[in-house]
Amino acid sequence: MTSQGISASRALNPLGWLVAPMVLCVIATVLLAAPIRILGQALPQPVFPLALAFAWPLIRPSLVPPFALLVMGLFLDLFWGGPPGLWPLCLLAAYAGVLALRRLITGNDFVFVWAWYAAATLVAFGVGFLAMAMRSGVAPNLLAVGWQYVWTAALFPFADRLIRRFEDADVRFR
């Protein structure tokens, strides 16, 4: 086996593709919860872990990411004060969709993949909207949902960077 072959089939370092992005997401979420207004507007609060829910199944299918997303979702629920289980459900819905369609998504242009990311984000917010409407009996405000959706969809470069960094690390999953 050549050195290139060994390199191509090396196992991914969980610290790099799982733990570090999770920590970054937690830090970004906490920072953007600061009670600051710029030009009278509160800071945007995108759902950073959705970038992970999109990137992880494209990098490689694995046992760990679903549980990591469960943890990240629970963190969002507890930190933001929502019902426990809401954001895990949203994140896992997006992950499931991308996992099922990963062969269609991988290897495409930046803009095309961004469109897929926007679609996955839409699925996640749709699940959240329905879950909240059924639980509370009050349909969440569509403008507020749309506002957070736009900011979350704008996070694609973060997901793209993660994918590009790790997708070629293990050629068995290309």
Binding site: P61, P66, F67, G81, P84, G85, L99, P140, A144
Partner: protein
């Protein structure tokens, strides 16, 4: 021989399938959490250990993050004020002239109001204690609208306490740790606040939906609701004291009546948490206590009772009320009086057990 070179190493593990299995398990856990967990943050017990732990950490972290930003904001404000001093001076002088006129009117109205109250024998609500706080974290997503304030049970804050800014009602406390409180805003999906329209005295429920302007549901009013009507807390249900300013009625883009919140007039950086729990707190329990009752004794009560118990000790008038659980907010003192035999000793005991508040001052409970 390494593992990869062995026959076992050639077995292709269907990772997509195993990832799918993990996904299903995670889905089940998330779904079970969502279905089984107490969702409504306003109910007792919803603020569990996990939330408490997160808030215990998030409060100080948010304070550290927001402190330098507040400082920069303050410096920028000072610089701006310096350059705007001349125009601000002109504006303030004009406002002062206007305010002097209002002051004279206010004094005259206060005198007249006091005289009429004395004539009618109306007993005003006593002031409520409150504690000031900084908000250290702000969540304004579509599914949750909460804030963290840097005071907690050590300062006397309890779940259910109303939270106001200098402009109006902000929300209420739904979780308390020793140093941090989680405040659910009026815009939260779970927030339902009994309000009254000042012009018509009509009642409604202010329901948050995650947007900036909560909806007015169940509007009950003899006269039609109008854009620009002032909205205040009605005190129904005893969650909030009556008369806290909430906002102004506007017509939403969806055609629903909504309320532009007064508290949106400025950033909610600093808030006051009213140490209000229910109307028995507003009533002066000691003054309402019957004074001719004998002291409770453990031995031979017949010896210590010196005379027959007169009319005031009879609990019948309280039970004669058709709806004791839904008091009229216009007559909180009467309702509390009716419930006094059961609630007063507890209220006195709980207030006495509260630690002294060094930063506590007082604020009016009702707007009337």
């Amino acid at each position: 021989m390494s593992f990869r070179d062995s026959p076992i190493g050639d077995i292709k593990v269907p990772l997509t399938w195993s990832a799918g299995a993990a996904l299903v398990i995670a889905f089940v856990i998330a779904g079970a959490l969502l279905l089984t967990h107490q969702h409504d943050m306003t109910r007792p017990g919803a603020y569990d250990g996990a939330r408490r732990a997160i808030d215990e950490v998030a409060g100080p972290v948010g304070g550290v993050i927001s402190a330098p930003i507040r400082w920069v904001d303050g410096v920028a404000g000072d610089v701006s004020d310096y350059f705007d001093a001349a125009s601000q001076n002109r504006q303030l002088k004009a406002e002062l002239v206007q305010a002097r006129g209002w002051r004279d009117q206010l004094v005259a109205l206060q005198v007249e109001n006091a005289r009429l109250r004395a004539v009618l024998g109306i007993r005003t609500d006593p002031p409520l204690p409150h504690v000031a706080a900084d908000t250290v974290a702000d969540v304004h997503g579509p599914f949750a609208n909460t804030r963290l304030a840097n005071v907690g049970s050590d300062q006397g804050v309890t779940e259910g306490n109303p939270v106001v800014s200098e402009h109006g009602l902000v929300g209420r406390v739904v979780g308390v740790t020793s140093d941090v409180s989680r405040v659910m805003l009026l815009t939260d999906v779970d927030s339902h606040t009994p309000v009254t329209l000042l012009r018509t005295n009509g009642r409604a429920i202010l329901s948050g939906d995650g947007g900036g302007s909560p909806k007015l549901d169940y509007v009950r009013s003899a006269q039609a609701i109008r854009e620009g009507d002032r909205v205040m807390t009605s005190g129904d249900g005893g969650v909030f004291p009556r008369g806290l300013p909430v906002g102004t009625v506007v017509k939403g883009s969806d055609g629903a009546w909504r309320v532009a919140l007064d508290s949106d007039a400025a950033p909610i950086d600093y808030v006051q948490i009213l140490l209000f729990t229910n109307f028995s707190q507003i009533a002066n329990a000691q003054a309402l206590a019957p004074k001719d009752l004998p002291t409770a004794m453990t031995e031979e009560p017949s010896q210590s009772i010196v005379g027959p118990i007169a009319g005031p000790t009879s609990p019948k008038p309280a039970s004669a009320s058709p709806e004791p659980a839904k008091p009229s907010p216009a007559t909180p003192a009467k309702r509390t009086t009716a419930a006094a035999p059961a609630t007063r000793p507890h209220a006195v005991a709980s207030r006495a057990a509260r630690p002294p508040l060094s930063a506590t001052t007082t604020v009016g409970a009702a707007g009337d």
